[in-house]
Amino acid sequence: MTLLAFDWLYLVEKLVLIAVIISASLLIAMYATYFERKVAAWMQDRIGPDRAGPFGILQPLADGGKLFFKEEIIPNAANKWLFILGPCMAMLTAMMTSAVIPWGSKIDLGGREIALQIADVNIGMLYIFGVVSFGVYGIMIGGWSSNNKFSLMAALRGASQVISYELAMGLSLIALLMLTGSLSLKTIVEQQMSHGNLWNIAYQPLGFFIFFVCALAECNRAPFDLPEAESELNMGYHQEYSSMKLGFYLFAEYINMFISSAIMATLFFGGYDVPFLDESTLNPNIAALIGIAALLAKTFFFIFVFMWIRWTLPRFRYDQLMDIGWKKLIPLALVNMVITAVVVLLRQG
């Protein structure tokens, strides 16, 4: 049997890593809901949730428990299978991106080196891009199968928004690719770590800005949360959803936020690199732990900025959204790309 001629330990190692990363992102998404409410409260001179446990830290558990015990409703006129498939797709695509993010360098367990990345594929950045373009299916399927005109409107809005902003996102990444010359996220991080190289944000500030705005739009976060605009579309694409299916949609939003923050930290802010610290002098396990902490700190900072923006800005109008996407961000990204290309060429020549 050739099937057994396989490094089973490798498989176990990867499965454990996948389990750890998925449960970590679920935990972080849970507490992101809590911090969302806390940050909103602080910015509005309020206190926020503080009833469940000390400082309300058990609030996410209470919310989850509440969602679990709610009645599951599938509308009569809904397309049953697609109605169930929608939240699953949303959750799946939110989770899938975490596969290519390098969470740390590597740890040494009894002589066996374990890379803290599920898959170091040589097309890492394109993989992210592919999964992001899939994120819209959860919204579209859910919105359409609900058989509700508000949900359908939200689904169409979501689809057009995600497609529009994907272009600018891709163009901003192309400029970054010209500098790094590699699509593998691990290589990109190692380049930023290597001596004498600054983080990519120093070379690509405009690219980062465009990427950030597009990430807001792709996560359907305010000020681009048109698919779930409460004031115009009731609840948007998840209006007919209840119980844990609704919970999946809400959760997927926070996981998306966490993953895209991690991607921004990886691509532009050195990933698991700690500035002014030479990791090679340290014990590799300690260095890996410091790296994970550094990446998480950067990620949490971006999550905070996402929330900060949400609780500051009102929602853009639909025509403004399209205007920003097509007439501002894409030309800006093109200009950024051309300038980067010229500079790279001049430095080579």
């Binding site: 940050v39 409260a41 602080w42 910015m43 509005q44 001179d45 309020r46 206190i47 503080d50 900060w308 923006i309 609780w311 500051t312 800005l313 920003i324």
Partner: protein
């Protein structure tokens, strides 16, 4: 049109200039405002845990008073019911029997005394009308209830604890332990 207060500001309807169309300066300004609010003290009062003190003239739920020996002061004269603009008070009078002198101060007393707290407007006119100092407005307000019936307060809800037999309860109700 003649303006009433001269405080109206005309709306600027000029098309946005370049800086405004970039949205960014306004975005950054807004974000700095929200950030500065993160460090402000929240004026929240955590209500069930903390309560704000009432002012001394606060008019809350009614109480029916007793004298120092624990006898009911009310004589069911009906002046409070007459004074009540919301017609929230009803009562039935009865004559004091032999051996009840330790319960009621005068020969006549209120066998039934009801205030409908949903009608009451807490104006305090009953308090002023009472010649016997029998009715007072306290510093609490009506707790919520599931039925309308629960808001019709009878004598057992209104009477203060007897200072002789239930002195501890009275001290607790007054807040002077």
């Amino acid at each position: 049109m003649q303006s009433l207060t001269n405080r109206a500001k005309p709306v600027d309807r000029r098309p946005m200039n370049f800086m405004e169309r970039m949205y960014l300066p306004a975005v950054l300004k807004g974000m700095s405002i929200t950030f500065s609010h993160m460090f402000k003290k929240a004026p929240t009062v955590r209500y069930p845990d903390e309560t704000r003190p009432f002012s001394p003239v606060f008019r809350g739920l009614h109480v029916l008073n007793r004298d120092e020996e624990g006898r009911e002061r009310c004589t069911a004269c009906g002046l409070c019911a007459v004074a009540c603009p919301a017609e929230a008070i009803t009562m039935e009078a009865a004559e004091r029997k032999q051996g009840e002198e330790n319960l009621y101060r005068e020969e006549k007393y209120a066998a039934k005394y009801e205030i409908n707290m949903l009608r009451c407007i807490f104006c305090g006119l009953c308090e002023e009308a009472c010649p016997k100092d029998a009715i007072y407005l306290s510093e609490t307000f009506a707790p919520s209830n599931f039925a309308r019936k629960g808001f019709i307060y009878g004598k057992k809800d209104l009477l203060i604890p007897d200072p002789k037999t239930e002195a501890a309860d009275l001290a607790k109700a007054k807040g002077t332990n």
